[in-house]
Amino acid sequence: MTSVACVKRSRLAWASLCLLGAMALPGCATDPNALAIDPYEATNRRIFSFNEGLDANVLKPAAKAYDAVVPDPVEEAVANFTNNIKDVWSLTNLILQGQGAGALEEFMRIGVNTTFGMAGFVDVATSMGLDRHNEDLGQTLAVWGAPDGAYLVLPVFGPSTTRDTVAFPADQYVVPASLFREPRDANAARAVQVLNARAQLLEASELLEDAALDKYAFVRDAYLQRRRNQIYNGEPPEVEPTDDLDASLRGAPLWTARIDVPLMKVQRTQISSNRVVDQSRFFVDQPEPVSVQLDDTWSAQVDVPTLP
């Protein structure tokens, strides 16, 4: 027999539990999801700090000096040359992914840029309407079905995922530095490539400093989104929250349920949902039964329905 009673003492059961079930925003990377994709967060943060220090103390000053000395057209030419070499790797991956039209475009890009673009220093193809396809082995593996794995921050090289780290040696191999036999020349070429890229991103990195509250989390989330975008070639399946936000902006609960609890003395109250915010309001990410257990003597269960 149930009856509604007023709560006088904390040991008594509540008179009624009003459950406000509201769908939390899907696609909202709140803590549970963040942990799932970033189980090594502590280590990643340390490596991230190390990379930041390396960048601030070594790479950025060098890039600034490089930027000051080298004229912009030359920087662009070096970037174009690097991209032309990378286009060869993109072409390989486009074929591996079965993207015939993209592979053909990329093939024409390489041809046009190498001949008319003076071995790649001038990017003629983009002005002809042939855009770059930025494909690498990590994306190919993803298209073949490999999941992301965990988010990883690599020393020096920055954000990555487990899958992309597996593909990393191959992706890093096809660069202008590979054209040189002598290790000294290859290292010099690699240094120029890195400095050039960093110099072109000097302004963008300052903006990142300004915009991010927590730079590590910001870079991680943006990187993972961008990676997903690249894998799907600009059209990832959308996971946008819809009307639940409208409801929340209007202030109305989407669903409520009431459980009447019998009058009894209770040592322990247990609500089996790990997302309880407080005892009268909590949020549910997906339909699940919610049960209330009062000691071992009384329990009730409510099914939260699928909300639009």
Partner: protein
Amino acid sequence: MTAMLKRSRHLVLWSCALASAGLAAPGLTLAETAPATAVATVPATQQTPDALIRTLSTNVLEAVRKDKTIQAGDARKVESLVNTQIMPYVNFQRMTASAVGRYWRQATPDQQKRLQQEFKSLLLYTYSGAVSQIRDQTVDVKPLRANPQDEKVIVRTQIRGRGDPIQLDYRLEKTPEGWKIYDVNVLGAWLVQSYQTTFAQDISAVGIDGLITRLSDRNKQLATKKAGA
């Protein structure tokens, strides 16, 4: 390292994107000499979303090109540009609510208002940095792929200039006052989603008021930085 920073290039355009709500001139309008106060002939409330983005972009791009002080990073000028040309077409309440996520419902109206103000300031400061980097880029608005009765659409554009074309997308929703922007995507990363984790972590650590404090501290920091620059 450079790979990570390549990802950070999107920040240049988040600001460009929000500040200019779409630097869209359909393709090749470098040579166009539209009057400085070009205004769409159709009132904004009746425009289709992609036409709206195109109009906003044309206006803002022209304003930036003609005014050298904006290019130099004058924060006040950028702010007035953003407030007059862009703010009327952005639904900041929704943007903030989406970024804050499920805690939005727990916030008092006063907290909500402050969150919105601080978030808006943060983005404005980021803009003045990015807008000052606009040189001679053009924007290419892709044809809109949506049903006529859709209340929410995505408008895809591309920024072309030096280097690779940069993807820039907008989410717009239909309101009684016309279409409004409520999210921006640069190089594949949606602005709202990128702030969601940070906000959620901060709120669970220090509460909503703590987040507001952090945001306002950051804004003060940016204000002194811009003033000193």
